[in-house]
């Protein structure tokens, strides 16, 4: 079998639980740090992004309405499947980042552990951040957290696989759906991870992954009126200013995570989930007639 011709894989994008090619028909050739070309990768267009937002919006109500237990199980399932595909991801990371197999393995392990960590938060964060408010009138008043909605995530070119997995697990555990622009030079792990997601009972549209170039799509991410929040994985000041500025049009919640702090183990906390949740407070009167003050 030594002379067997290797089958080369075509990498496509991931929208609404399907793997289409970019509608634009365009491609780009990203390279790793050794200058090796990673392949012909989809150069996603504005139209791809808009389709992805439609899919994410459609999936959001159902996803947010699922029981916390179910969401936790699905994220756990992603971790299980990633564990099973570890060797593949180690190879891809070595190719994509030009790192040693030990380094690559470390990163994949961290990514799996991060998924497990956030899977466990699904039915716990609500109790940490919610509460009954002791108002001074005869009302039952409580505040709890709800998903923000559709979160668009932009990755800088230095963003890596672990950052992507950290963003996904923090955002979807709260009931949000996502449209992600993978890092320009890390499309192989991102799209292969979409295959893991697609195989883990994650409903189509909850996570959508595009590949391409941030400068081209950044404006469309920030100005889209049906996106509720933007997460930028990076630290380019110009990009941050531009996203904040354009997001004002529909008051998107803008979050910025620099890739260095995402990679640290201190990143793991329920506060990263909370950044994509809204506080809702509900009031209801408590009847106070006859014997309301008596004991039993």
């Amino acid at each position: 079998m030594e002379n067997r011709i290797e089958v080369l894989k075509t990498y496509k994008i991931y929208i609404g639980g399907k793997f289409p090619r970019t509608e634009s028909g365009r491609y780009y050739k990203p390279t790793n740090s050794n200058g090796e070309v990673l392949g012909n990768i989809c150069l996603s267009s504005r139209k791809d992004f808009r389709n992805a937002v439609v899919a994410a919006r459609k999936a959001q109500g159902d996803w947010a309405g699922r029981s916390a237990y179910n969401i936790g199980q699905i994220i756990y399932r992603i971790a299980e499947n990633l564990e099973g595909a570890k060797a593949q991801f180690v190879t891809l990371l070595m190719q994509e980042e030009g790192v040693s197999s030990a380094k690559a393995k470390e990163q994949v392990n961290q990514a799996i552990d991060r998924l497990i960590y956030y899977a466990g938060w699904s039915d716990k964060f609500q109790q940490i951040f919610s509460g009954v408010n002791p108002v001074s009138s005869s009302h039952f008043n409580f505040s709890m957290l709800e998903s923000t909605g559709v979160v668009a995530c932009l990755s800088d070119s230095d963003s890596n696989f672990l950052a992507l997995v950290s963003a996904i697990s923090s955002v979807i555990v709260g009931g949000n759906t996502m449209v992600i622009m993978a890092g320009e030079n890390t499309p192989l792990t991102a799209i292969t991870f979409a295959e893991i997601i697609n195989n883990s009972d994650v409903p189509g549209g909850v996570i959508n992954i595009l590949t391409g170039k941030l400068p081209e799509l950044e404006e469309h991410f920030a100005t889209h009126m049906d996106v509720n929040s933007i997460l930028y994985l990076g630290s380019d000041k110009k990009v941050i200013e531009s996203i904040k500025n354009k997001s004002a049009e529909n008051l998107k919640r803008v979050r910025v995570w620099d890739n260095k702090s995402i990679l640290s183990s201190e990143f793991e906390s329920p506060y990263s989930i909370k950044e994509f949740l809204e506080v809702k407070t509900t009031w209801h009167p408590i009847e106070q007639i006859g014997g309301a003050s008596s004991g039993y």
Partner: protein, 490 residues
């Protein structure tokens, strides 16, 4: 289907009238002219300019108020910056005691504040007396207690105050909004530069006098008066760490753009177009009262006002009839009269805005209802108004009017009303009236709004977080959640 007939109707043909019951103004002290409160002292504005603050019920000037320009704002920020280090390093329990002191002083002078609030803003004395001022004091009391307990609010995190907060507040609840802004900022160890709205500066300036009386260290609270330009000078000042703004969505967006290239944190509490939903199983009389309170409280100058009413079709006639009857019994007039339900519109400009919307309703061919009584001859007044069968696309159901104007629509099913209620870029508040608990919880979880009132409306409390979804802004004020706005949490 047989229509429910309500045989009962109120008879208004009577010679009985309310006697005037005006609140006395004799204990109130308003100076002829107010300067800026910077570094613990009242100082003359570098701008050299003053403007009149008008009593909207009489159209007469109450006092002259300084107009702060960029240089004035700069000295206020400098004084806040100078005060920040010692204030943030003060033992938290001592910081708390100063804030408790302010709460107590407001309670002691509550009556004077209530009267000035009604004189300057036009709101009925019963509201300023029973809601605005007591809640403002309660807010200081609530956050004073947090000052030395902050680490319990954010387990496993390191917290720090942000520095100097620039705070810009609206004219609808002048002292209460000042309390919402100042109390949590101080409790968290920040210092502030606060700008009240140009039509309602007086209670903020009285608060400045009170703060001086409290011996709060100089510069911890600075109050600068003026209009939009003064606000812009605060937003754009390079040495401000945090912007807290309550006001229109339009200005909120301008602020977000203006600070995009900076590290300033922001919380924005913006406009709303709340849905108030009545199901056929609701206690109708309570619901009608709640709808009236929801839209006509404070002349409808409320960001969370229930300005879109959704009535289930089967009870449309009954609810609309009762709303009309209730409108006829509302007392509109002198804000200082203790019987007054609806006071004066805050300013001439706002009255014109509301009247333009009434005209739009007319042009759209909508049926409307206004009570038959006449308005006072002097002052800015507007009759409470109902518009019926308003469509989803009408400007009256899309745009925030900020006045006593209710747009009424109907619905048949739960799914339909959820879709209609959420069909707005706003998401500040919502109301649901039903006798069925499971339905109320379904609605409260489906409605995209930061505050949901079930079988009640327009209730506020310092312990209860307030703030919006979507284009109604971000961040919360009140409760433990309100602390986040004024801390760096790492």
């Amino acid at each position: 289907m047989a229509k429910k007939q309500n045989s009962f109707s109120l008879n208004f043909d009577t010679d009985w009238n309310y006697s005037p019951a005006p609140e006395s103004t004799s204990h109130v002290e308003i100076k002829e002219k107010y300067d800026l409160f910077i570094g613990g002292k009242f100082v003359k504005p570098k701008s050299g300019k003053y403007f009149d603050t008008i009593n909207p019920a009489t159209e007469k000037s109450l006092a002259k108020v300084a107009e702060a320009n960029e240089k004035d704002v700069d000295s206020a920020v400098k004084s806040a910056r100078k005060a920040f280090k010692p204030w943030s390093e003060l033992p938290a329990s001592e910081r708390a005691k100063y804030i408790f002191r302010i709460a107590r002083l407001i309670q002691e002078r509550a009556r004077e504040f209530a009267v000035i609030e009604s004189l300057d803003g036009g709101k009925p004395i019963k509201e300023s007396r029973d809601i605005d001022i007591p809640l403002a004091a309660a807010h200081f009391f609530y956050y004073a207690g947090w000052a030395d307990k902050l680490e319990y609010a954010f387990p496993n995190r390191k917290i720090k105050p942000l520095g100097v907060a620039g705070q810009i507040i609206p004219w609808n609840f002048p002292l209460l909004m000042a309390a919402w802004k100042i109390a949590p900022a101080l409790a968290c160890g920040n210092t502030v530069v606060l700008k009240p709205a140009e039509t309602t500066s007086l209670t903020a300036l009285k608060l400045a006098e009170l703060i001086a009386d409290s011996d709060l260290p100089e510069g911890v609270v600075n109050i600068v008066t003026g209009a939009g330009k003064t606000g812009a000078a605060i937003v754009n000042h390079p040495d401000i760490d945090k912007i807290a703004f309550t006001g229109s969505t339009e200005v909120g967006k301008i602020i977000q753009r203006a600070i995009a290239g900076t590290n300033k944190k922001a919380t924005l509490e913006l406009g709303g177009k709340a849905a108030n939903i009545i199901f056929e199983d609701a206690p109708i009389d309570q619901a009608v009262e709640g709808v009236i309170n929801g839209i006509f409280f404070n002349q409808g100058h409320v960001c969370c006002a229930g300005s879109r009413l959704f009535i289930q079709e089967s009870i449309k006639d009954e609810v609309e009839k009762k709303l009309k009857m209730r409108l006829e019994t509302l007392r509109i007039g002198d804000p200082l009269d203790k019987n007054t339900d609806i006071g004066a519109i805050n300013s001439k400009g706002q009255l014109e805005t509301i009247e333009a919307y009434l005209e739009i309703g007319k042009q759209e061919g909508l049926t409307s209802f206004q009570p038959s009584y006449s308005l006072p001859k002097k002052g800015y007044y507007c009759k409470p108004t109902l518009f019926f069968d308003v469509s989803q696309s009408s400007r009256l159901s899309k745009e925030e009017i900020f006045g006593p104007v209710l747009a009424i629509q109907t619905f048949r099913t739960v799914d339909e009303v959820i879709e209609k209620a959420n069909n707005t870029p706003y998401g500040l508040s919502a109301g649901v009236w039903t006798d069925k608990g499971s339905k109320a919880f379904n609605l409260s979880s489906q409605l995209k709004a930061g505050v949901v009132w079930a079988n009640t409306f327009n209730k506020f409390d310092p312990a209860s977080p307030f703030g919006g979804f979507k284009e109604s802004g971000f961040g919360r004020e009140g409760g433990m959640h309100g602390l986040e706005a004024y801390l760096s949490i790492k």
